[in-house]
């Protein structure tokens, strides 16, 4: 599945719920399903700045593709980063850098987050791009 196809799939998944409370429930499920993140990797240099809850994001290379792992102390935030990982992990830096994130608006995520979490989402996307940039050969 390409990045665009995965984004499309998420937009469809979220559109199955009318109520935002149910969309949150879906995000929470994504958060709960995110694999455990090793405690020793919860270091300050992996913390994403600009989030009120703490979010750690780590990136490694595997056969030319970036593999993201992450965690957060808040479960909704964990769901958001899990969703982003499902889109952007296992891609080449070029794929990430040439994609856009308009799907977040189509889901309606941005407008349905508190202002602090909107900032957090912005920071997560920026960090993903920065990491892609720094892993580009």
């Amino acid at each position: 599945m390409t990045i665009e196809e995965k984004q499309e799939e998420l937009v469809e998944d979220f559109s199955m719920y009318d109520e935002w409370l149910d969309k949150y429930e879906y995000l929470i499920e994504l958060g709960k399903a995110l694999p455990a993140f090793p405690e020793e990797k919860k270091t300050d240099d992996r913390l994403i700045k600009g989030c009120q809850s703490r979010v750690w994001l780590d990136a490694g290379m595997d056969g030319g593709k970036i593999v993201f792992t992450a965690d957060s102390d808040a479960i909704i935030t964990r769901g958001i980063i899990a969703m982003l990982i499902s889109v952007y992990s296992g891609r080449t830096p070029e794929e990430i850098l040439t994609s856009d994130d308009a799907f977040l608006d189509r889901i309606g995520l941005r407008e349905n987050l508190s202002p602090t979490r909107q900032n957090g989402l912005l920071s997560m996307m920026r960090t993903i791009r920065d990491l892609a940039e720094s892993h580009r050969n």
Binding site: E19, L21, E25, Q52, I75, I76, T77, L113, T116
Partner: protein
């Protein structure tokens, strides 16, 4: 008066969010405004929008008169001796900053001590901390114990002779009447008594206190009392600095310009008398004009029948939170007559659930609460958590809302676990 009758005065409480009835439990941040205040604001905007004190024309005279009526309403509400002791600022924060700067300029020297409570809002902490940094003074803390109660013997030590035999150098004590996190009515009178016995003035941050307690500044004998209009039913952008005349007269102005002067030459300026000396620039005359209506509302809120219902509503919330073994409620309320009564504010955490997640789900259920550090980081850290959830009520909140809130809390917690 019944809760329902009082409630109908506030149009916003009828509102919907996301198609659900609004449950507004963020009153400690900002109270809702009654229609009388909303209407007065609109009427003044239409009919008396002109600069105050400055012109001879009718509109200016009307605006000035409304401004002074606002001052008189506040003076009467807190029992100040004269209008000269009521200074309008932009908010409680600006009021505290005014004292921190002006009092600091006049009275604080290197090595002096300022005492603040440990559970202060940043607005009654940072101005003092920065003053101390500027002046080379020491900031000392009146600590709270695990129940959120002041450890007054520590204050006694700070105010008494020092271990080396030197006299205490405490110049001022600044404490909250009611902490915006713990929500307990602090024994400010006792602190004032102790401080005065040592010749030290006391500033009381009344942002929460004035909302829940019948304040008489002369009986309390505080030297300064600061609060905001927007937490007390008035329009936002207004704050009050009450100060005893003897202090206000001895302090230099904080901001300069506008009508706060007497005569100005290019070389020097003599300043106007009180209260104008501390009111540089154009005041928020439209919002100040809402004080007579806002104080009338605050007076209605103290109706005995309404207060009895409010006490019961608050107790229900407190009991419901305490009944849950996975919830930690901060600050222990004492007996009904004494200090540390709980005043409509419950801050808590739920085991294994992040406060921000809870606040976000509650919001989607129509419930407005505050979450996070609540502008009082030191006391949140004191209790070893990264943030709390706060439900803060006013007498227009109902028992049904508390029940709905607890149901929503259960549902949100179940979703998050």
């Amino acid at each position: 008066m019944t809760v329902q009758t009082f409630r109908t005065l506030f149009p916003a409480l009828d509102g919907n969010v996301y198609g659900k009835a609004l449950v507004y439990f963020d009153n400690a941040a900002t109270s809702q405004r009654p229609a009388s205040v909303i209407d007065k604001y609109a009427r003044m905007s239409r009919e008396a929008n002109a600069n105050i004190y400055r012109a001879v024309h009718k509109l200016s005279a009307d605006a000035t008169e409304a401004y002074e009526q606002g001052r008189e309403a506040v003076r009467a509400f807190i029992g100040a001796a004269s209008r000269e002791e009521i200074i309008f600022t932009s908010g409680c924060t600006a009021a505290v900053n005014t004292v921190a700067y002006s009092f600091g300029e006049a009275f604080v020297r290197p090595g002096d001590v300022i005492v603040v409570g440990e559970a202060e809002h940043h607005s009654n902490l940072v101005p003092w901390q920065q003053l101390c940094l500027r002046k080379g003074a020491d900031l000392r803390v009146l600590p709270v114990d695990e129940e959120g109660h002041w450890q007054l013997d520590e204050l006694g030590r700070l105010l008494g002779a020092q271990p080396d035999g030197a006299a205490s150098r405490v110049k001022l004590v600044a404490v909250a009447h009611i902490s915006n996190v713990l929500g307990l009515v602090n024994p400010v009178e006792e602190v004032i008594g102790m401080a005065h016995a040592a010749g030290v003035p006391v500033l009381v941050d009344g942002a929460q206190g004035v909302v829940h307690e019948a304040v008489d500044v002369q009986a309390m004998d505080c030297d300064f009392y600061c609060f905001s209009g927007h937490k007390l039913y008035a329009a936002p952008g207004t704050g009050i600095l009450y100060g005893k005349k003897k202090w206000l007269e001895a302090m230099p102005p904080f901001l300069f310009g506008g009508e706060m002067v007497d005569t100005v030459t290019l070389e020097r300026t003599t300043f106007a008398g009180l209260p104008h000396k501390f009111e540089a620039g154009t005041g928020n005359f439209t919002a100040v004009a809402t004080f007579p209506e806002a104080m009338e509302t605050a007076r209605l809120a103290r109706d005995p029948q309404l207060l009895a219902a409010f006490d019961e509503t608050c107790r229900c919330l407190e009991d419901a939170l305490k009944a849950r073994s996975d919830i930690r409620l901060y600050g222990a309320s004492g007996d009904a007559a004494g200090p540390y009564r709980r005043a409509g504010v419950c801050s808590f955490t739920v085991d294994g659930v992040h406060h921000e997640d809870l606040a976000q789900l509650l919001d989607k259920m129509g419930v407005a609460v505050r979450s996070g550090l609540m502008c009082a980081e030191p006391v949140i850290r004191h209790f070893g958590v990264s943030g709390m959830l706060r439900a803060s009520l006013l007498p227009y909140n109902t028992l049904q809302e508390v029940e709905y809130f607890m149901q929503c809390l259960d549902k949100a917690v179940a979703m998050l676990r």
